[in-house]
Symmetry: C2
Subunit: 213 residues, 2 copies
């Protein structure tokens, strides 16, 4: 007694699940539509009833990934000392990235060729930033005042309570987080950083300090 809409939603989910699995296995650029449909059990041309192109499938996976890492960050933010909350969120993002390297690469690595990140991805992209910024805002610790010109470099009202004094430091910390995770994941720390847990925690704490934690 499933209506056509339910059937469609279910098939869409089955395609996405197969795509997710393939993404984890072979990475974004090698993700093959035909392999996905083979796994689902339909012929290759059928998938175009659900996703107009391979890029649209990728977009769906990108949004999923942003949501997943955002959720991981939010779930890791259980109260306590501001700095401990902050470090906990950093660790959660790193842990998620290590568990899902292909998805991480999809959203924070180089954009897929010929693929322009559509506006659809923007809301989901900010969730981690919001979690981190909120911790810094609530802590309300002292922050080194940025030069006047820098205060206007960022968009105003990114988040309620995110002052022009705090915003540059928060943005830099946000960048540092994903830079560090990315460098570890993409092999730049090979033969250089041995104890990555310790180094990462140290970077997290140092970045936290610049945001008044």
């Amino acid at each position: 007694m499933t209506t056509r809409q339910e059937q469609r939603a279910e098939t869409t989910e089955r395609i996405l699940a197969a795509a997710r699995a393939q993404l984890a296995e072979v990475g974004a650029a090698a993700l093959s539509l035909r392999a996905v449909t083979r796994e689902v059990g339909m012929v290759s041309s059928a998938v175009y009833r659900y996703f107009p192109s391979r890029d649209d499938l990728l977009t769906a996976l990108i949004i999923e990934a942003y949501d997943a890492v955002g959720e991981a960050a939010e779930a890791a933010d259980h109260g306590g000392e501001p700095l401990e909350r902050w470090v906990s969120v950093w660790r959660a993002v790193r842990a998620w990235a290590r568990e899902h390297p292909a998805q991480y690469a999809l959203i924070y690595g180089s954009p897929v060729p010929g693929y322009a990140a559509p506006q659809d991805t923007l809301p989901a992209a900010g969730r981690v930033a919001i979690v981190l910024a909120r911790i810094a805002i609530e802590a309300g610790g002292p922050v080194a005042a940025p030069p006047p010109a820098v205060r206007n470099a960022l968009a105003p009202d990114l988040l309620p309570g995110l002052t022009a004094e705090l915003a540059p430091a928060a943005m830099a910390a946000f960048t540092q987080l994903f830079g560090t995770v990315g460098f570890e994941l993409f092999g730049q720390y090979e033969n250089v950083v041995h104890d990555r847990d310790t180094f990462f925690d140290h970077v997290a704490r140092t970045a936290g300090a610049t945001c008044g934690l």
Copy 2:
């Protein structure tokens, strides 16, 4: 009067040049061997006399890119105030990245699928880091002492003069540089950071301060 070796070197260079051009145009993952050979004016199978596979061609391009960005960094380091040298190198890396986004993505973006960065790329990869570290070492300014555990997190003797006190800060700054450039290039600052020159300079100076500049 060209010997066979000269001929071979020349053809190799022509292939690389065409590959470089195509890389800039369509990106790494869409780089097509056949298109490259078409541009060079030979048939697709001939290229395998020069590069055993597409990945080997990519490896050659990766090494080229590391060398190019390293050279840009070195060229930008004309003496003066340590902090000014530091900022100048940061700017040079960013400028190179904006001029060569595809090459930048190739080396600092997500690894190309199925492609494991071979050891060949390691020496070239460190050039920018060496330029930056040397500036910090020569400046010899005060650096916040890292906790004892962090001192052992990095490989010792990365560079002569790079003390265990300075190394974590230098590594973090190095990461911050490529994180910031990457975020700008890959679209994460869209709708968030408006004045990117100003913001970037500010991050550079702040990172310099953590390294004693």
